[in-house]
């Protein structure tokens, strides 16, 4: 096989893939869990006003609510609430 630029580039791509797998795979779940914890806290901040916790940034977080609605159901389940805790809209 001639050693041209493409084979070297190809080889480098493969090596990078292997290195990335070696680097990230053992810690994937620990990092995903940590990220989820942070996201959960963020959800609480965004929806705090609706649960009676005053939030000085509610003017901004209100805009985020529709964007985060998709995750809302999983979040309240994870937080130990069987059904949506909000009065105005129910997701389940």
């Amino acid at each position: 096989m001639p050693l041209d630029r493409h084979t070297i580039a190809d080889w480098l791509r493969k090596a990078t893939y292997v290195a990335e797998e070696v680097y990230s795979a053992p810690y994937r779940s620990a990092i995903a869990r940590a990220k989820r914890d942070e996201d959960d806290l963020f959800m609480l901040m965004v929806f705090s006003e609706m649960m009676g916790v005053p939030n000085p940034a509610s003017y901004y977080t209100l805009e985020l609510q529709p964007l985060l609605l998709e995750r809302f159901h999983d979040w309240h389940k994870r937080m130990g609430m069987e059904h949506s805790p909000l009065d105005h809209f129910k997701c389940c």
Partner: protein, 558 residues
């Protein structure tokens, strides 16, 4: 005798074990099925369950199980001569460790990738699960204490290693930031990391940082032990991506480079075995070889800790069931080669027998220091590096392996305390800081309790650490045996190692019990009794389970 001969015989034996024995176990005993849907496919989620290429998976598995323990154990055990240590490492790897590690992956993959602790509960009994948890707690306690003592000893003996050992922590912190914040290419970062590591090692000898022999009312060793636990306290609280992940990665690279350098140097220098094959004149106070050899070398021959890695993480990423043979058995073979390198370094790397004997003046005295001295002699002779740089290279390697294990160990210990807080409803124990304080405090108590206020004698707990590690392996072997019996397959290949381990650990504990009593070492006597109780519980559990299985088989027949 030439060290090359020993090296080739050892590596050849391991290769034959992998080619023939593991094939037999895979086909006839575990009966691996290439069409079996592994948990990685069944529950694929991109996070925990990810089908992974078998070579990459082997890389993770090997680097997670290989650490400082397969270096320290053999280096201590060659006090009885290189012959016994060599045989136990090679035969142990082939017939014990390989079957155990491979079996743990298989057992877990066949049970929805559950962890070994959970499996013990499901397959054996809820009581066995509790014993498993107690043994894990003891293993973690001892591993953290003993590794702090090992690193402190190395940093005192090799001031040239101080700068690289602590400097690499800064490099790792930087790598973590570059990867996650700057999204830099990993290959570039890897090259930077390796260059930084070896640059630090080359600079080390010119900048020796010596710890004064007395710091206030503390000895130098004690000061290092306290600093190391302070480090472990902080490091174990950081998110994994900040420090642990890049450190682990650098260690992985270092492991391969270190192994390559050692074996290449042995080939080029061809040293002869200076130490005797069987040491007839062991120093006074050395315990009898049987049974102590089998607990002094745990990692490198068989180690229960591998079962935790196999069942917790590796089994969730297994692409095909048939990969388990390569990942598990060859992972154990990898660790065997590290232990073999340690044996060769600690017995062949000396000019005269008198020099070797002066290092092994008492039991536990040679150990990792002899590995560094002997290894440095071989590397400097074989590759032409200076003696100082070679010694720094090996001291740093051992320190970094042990340091990462401490970080992980303290983290796991914290989880255990937090779980207790949850089980018993103790609110403050569920929080990170108090739980870490408890974890570090318990390990420090052990390090100083066993080693005295100067912390010098901490290596005395090494055989006890090996014992608990073997008990853990015994429990895993029990789980595999029970599964095999229920499937109607022969259990002799796991039962013989299990019985051997139980006999050796219990007799080692009894021998040590008498020794500690004679020395008036009440702290270690107490610890020995605790481990002995756990060992007897494990033995009883094994007996009752096997009796139950026989009854089950009989009722089925009738």
């Amino acid at each position: 005798m030439s060290a090359i001969v020993l090296m080739l015989v050892g590596l050849g034996g391991l290769a034959l074990g992998f080619i023939f024995y593991s094939k037999f176990i895979a086909e006839k005993i575990y009966q691996l099925d290439p069409d079996f849907k592994t948990p990685a496919h069944e529950f694929e989620d991109g996070v925990d369950y990810v089908p992974t290429n078998k070579f990459i998976l082997w890389g993770h598995h090997f680097t997670s199980v290989a650490g400082a323990a397969p270096i320290v154990g053999p280096a201590v055990a060659v006090i009885w001569g290189w012959g016994p240590a060599f045989l136990w490492v090679i035969l142990g790897t082939i017939f014990f460790a390989g079957v155990h590690d491979f079996g743990a992956i298989w057992a877990s993959a066949r049970n929805k990738a559950k962890s070994m602790g959970a499996l013990t509960g499901d397959v054996v009994s809820a009581r066995a699960r509790s014993i498993f948890m107690i043994v894990i707690f003891l293993v973690l306690l001892m591993v953290n204490a003993v590794f702090a003592v090992v690193i402190a000893g190395l940093l005192i003996s090799y001031p040239s290693a101080v700068l690289p050992v602590w400097g690499i922590i800064l490099v790792a912190l930087l790598i973590g930031q570059l990867i996650y914040r700057q999204k830099m290419n990993l290959m570039a970062v890897s090259i930077f990391g390796v260059i930084a590591l070896y640059a630090l090692i080359f600079i080390g000898p010119s900048v020796p940082l010596e710890m004064p022999s007395e710091v206030g009312f503390l000895s130098g060793t004690a000061t290092w032990i306290i600093i190391l636990f302070a480090y472990a306290f902080v490091a174990s609280m950081l998110p994994v991506w900040v420090l642990l992940q890049p450190r682990d990665y650098i260690n992985g690279i270092q492991l391969f480079i270190g192994l390559g350098v050692m074996y290449l140097a042995v080939l080029l220098l061809n040293p002869s075995m200076v130490a005797p094959m069987v040491n007839e004149s062991v120093p006074e106070g050395t315990p009898s070889m049987i049974p102590l050899l089998f607990v002094t070398i745990a990692c490198g021959a068989i180690s229960g800790f591998h079962g935790l890695v196999s069942s917790g993480t590796t089994s969730k990423q297994l692409n095909k069931e048939t990969d388990a043979r390569f990942v598990g058995y060859f992972g154990a073979v990898g660790e065997g080669t590290l232990a073999l390198a340690a044996i060769i370094a600690a017995t062949a790397g000396f000019a005269t027998l008198a020099e070797w004997e002066s290092l092994y003046a008492s039991f536990g005295a040679g150990g990792v220091g002899a590995f560094v001295e002997g290894g440095a002699y071989i590397i400097s002779g074989g590759l032409g590096l200076s003696q100082e740089v070679s010694a720094t290279l090996l001291a740093v390697m051992a320190c970094l392996f042990a340091g990462t294990t401490m970080d992980t160990g303290v983290r796991l210990q914290r989880y255990i305390f937090q779980e207790w807080g949850q089980i018993y409803g103790i609110d403050w124990m569920k929080k990170n800081i108090p739980a870490t304080v408890l974890a570090v405090g318990a390990c420090m108590l052990l390090a100083f309790g066993a080693g005295g206020p100067d912390g010098d004698g901490g290596m005395l707990i090494w055989p006890l650490f090996g014992t608990t590690n073997q008990l853990l392996a015994g429990l895993t072997l029990l789980v595999i045996s029970v599964m095999l019996v229920r499937l109607g397959r022969p259990m002799i290949y796991t039962l013989v190692p299990l019985v051997f381990l139980l006999v050796m650990t219990i007799s080692a504990l009894l021998v040590q019990l008498v020794d500690f009593y004679n020395d008036g070492n009440w702290f270690l006597l107490f610890l020995d009794v605790v481990v002995l109780v756990a060992a007897i519980l494990v033995a009883l559990e094994c007996t009752s389970t096997l009796m139950r299985l026989r009854r089950e088989a009989k009722t089925q027949e009738s």
